[in-house]
Amino acid sequence: MDLSDTPEEEEFRARLREWLAKTLPGLPPKPSPDDWPGRRAYDLGWQRRLYDAGYADVHWDASPATRLIFLEETEKAGAPYVGANFVGLLHAGPTIAAEGTEEQRERWLPPILRGEEVWCQGFSEPDAGSDLAALRTRAWRDGDDYVVTGSKIWTSHAEVADWCELLVRTDPEAPRHRGITWLAMPMDAPGITVRPLRTLAGSAEFAEVFLDEVRVPAVNRVGDENDGWRVTLVTLSFERGTAFAGEVVACRRVLGELAVEARENGRWDDPALRRRLGRLNAEFRALWRLTQWNVSAAQASGSVPGAAGSVFKLRYSHARQELYDAAAEVLGADCLDLDRPWTLDRLSSLSYTIAAGTSQIQHSIIAERILGLPKGR
């Protein structure tokens, strides 16, 4: 066991730090949270800078340890987050890298890395949330195309996406998990209607997506026809396993900011609050260590994180909610003010125990797949 940087890692860290110090001051101002096209352009622009500086593929090809250094240093420096590039960089891209053909990798991966194309995730449907395998969006083969009809819901970033990782049912007769196919759907294809859905935080962060005989070329299928569930599990393990790792560092930064704020407004004098923040410090330190542990384990076994990702996801999503509840205590009455950024963060943290699989589902996965308890539900 060794937590220190190797000489190469040390070198990487130093070079990255220097680049961040040079680059961040020249970044354009962040667009407002409601300005979706602006946010898309901003997030893609940041990805482009990373690309030009040789850091674009850090989420995929670099050694996992290097990736953690990247997350640590960018977050500490307050660099932009992946934002609209979330799906492309953190789970659609890795899925295509793992499961796609050579042509598919060449078609989709470079534009993601260069910050040219945004992806969204079309998995959930109105009647298929936790029970994802109940999805009903139909696709049938017509010549060189699949023709897709159905609807998706809660599709984050759908409004600004170029591509959608889409799950469709290609064999309605087969057992539920067997008749599903994973497709890359261009979001500008005729027959797609995107209707923004307002979240409880007030923004249109996700959308309903209606699909009416949308033609998706069959060459856009990742994995075999009817083998999409297996591909989906790969996607989900990226989504739950490693996609949130960078946010842990961000939470640690917020915790530091909370302590400063509490000192300034006098709440630091309250021992109960101090201890609460102290506990959260322990929590996020441990979550970072868990990230390092999971990543090292995946690296050693050469596989994706799997059910261990559920352990992290479950614990992290609750810790994040506790963090912003503590922020509310630090802010006092100001925690009701939407113009304080922590207020919006607190509202959006409510989705963390739901999106990417609810806490209840994560508990079941852990019980069944790690502890070997009987499947009951």
Binding site: A134, W154, G332, L336, D337, L338, T343, I354, A355, Q360
Partner: protein, 293 residues
């Protein structure tokens, strides 16, 4: 000892519930959310006519002459339906500020550095000089921040009425969660059939019923320490209940269209009222050493 609602109390609660369903049902709630900052004056007067504000005012002074237990019952109903407006402040002003008792006047008060509904209030009690509007997290409660407004010792009645509203929320979100858990199907059965969901719902009920006993008892004794305890329990039942209710609703609960977030937001607003949770905790701790616990 007979720790039950009397027939009159039950009738009062049911009457209030009917009035609120009629005057502030689902559609009115939606309307209020879509036109934030507007207070329905006609509804305010209707509340006044029903005795909502004058409830504890002696009959000789034109009031209804009832007590804290009755006040708690009607405030619980207000909490259930997310009734907007400075209800507690106006109730407390009855007999002091002209028009408050009848619902002719909307009375707000400076409370812990905040004022609710400042722009719509006819009278604001306390020093609201220099108040600045904030973008309120709760679309149904406009807020102003008052600089330097340190929390004074809150009136126990204000604490209790806040607790009663929290209790209303706690009970309501438990119902909403159970309703959803019975209706929403995943994996071929209602999600309420999954133990994880069933336990979430059961937890909500356990917290709200415990809070109910604490709130009702505090209303009977009027004891400040009982009231502080009731407040803590009711706050927890409301905030955690609303959170868990959201969880039970899944992605639907995270949308603006769902009613659940409104309950959570209002519950958060109430945690800031009347000295906040910290003061109630301190009061209970102090009672331990003062021998009055």
């Amino acid at each position: 000892m007979r720790f039950r609602l009397t027939d009159d109390q039950r009738a009062l609660r049911d009457g209030t519930r009917q009035l609120l369903v009629r005057r502030f049902g689902g559609e009115a709630l939606r309307g209020a959310v879509e036109s934030p900052g507007r207070l329905d004056r006609a509804l305010w007067r209707a509340l006044g006519e029903a005795g909502f504000f004058a409830l504890r005012l002696p009959e000789a002074e034109g009031g209804v002459g009832l007590g804290l237990p009755e006040a708690v019952l009607v405030f619980e109903e207000a909490g259930r339906v997310l009734l907007p407006g400075p209800l507690a402040a106006t109730h407390l002003a009855a007999g002091v500020v002209p028009g408050a008792a009848t619902g002719e006047a909307v009375v707000s008060a400076v409370d812990g550095g905040l004022v609710e509904w400042l722009a719509q209030a006819d009278v604001v009690r306390g020093d609201a000089a220099g108040a600045v509007p904030m973008r309120s997290l709760d679309p149904l409660t406009p807020l102003h921040r008052v600089p330097g407004g340190a929390a004074a010792d809150p009136a126990p009645v204000a604490v209790l009425l806040t607790a009663a509203e929290q209790l209303g929320t706690a009970a309501r979100v438990c119902e909403l969660a159970a309703q959803h858990a019975r209706a929403r199907e995943q994996f071929g059965r209602p999600v309420g059939a999954f133990q994880a969901v069933a336990h979430l719902c059961a937890g909500m009920l356990v917290r709200s019923e415990t809070a109910r006993a604490a709130v009702y008892a505090a209303a009977v004794t009027g004891d400040p320490v009982d009231i502080a305890a009731a407040r803590l329990l009711a706050d927890e039942a409301a905030v955690r209940g609303a959170r868990d209710c959201l969880q039970v609703h899944g992605g639907m609960g995270f949308t603006w269209e769902s009613e659940v977030h409104l309950h959570l937001k209002r519950a958060w607003v109430r945690t800031q009222r009347a000295g906040g949770v910290t003061q109630s905790e301190e009061a209970l701790a102090a009672a331990l050493t003062a021998g009055t616990a």
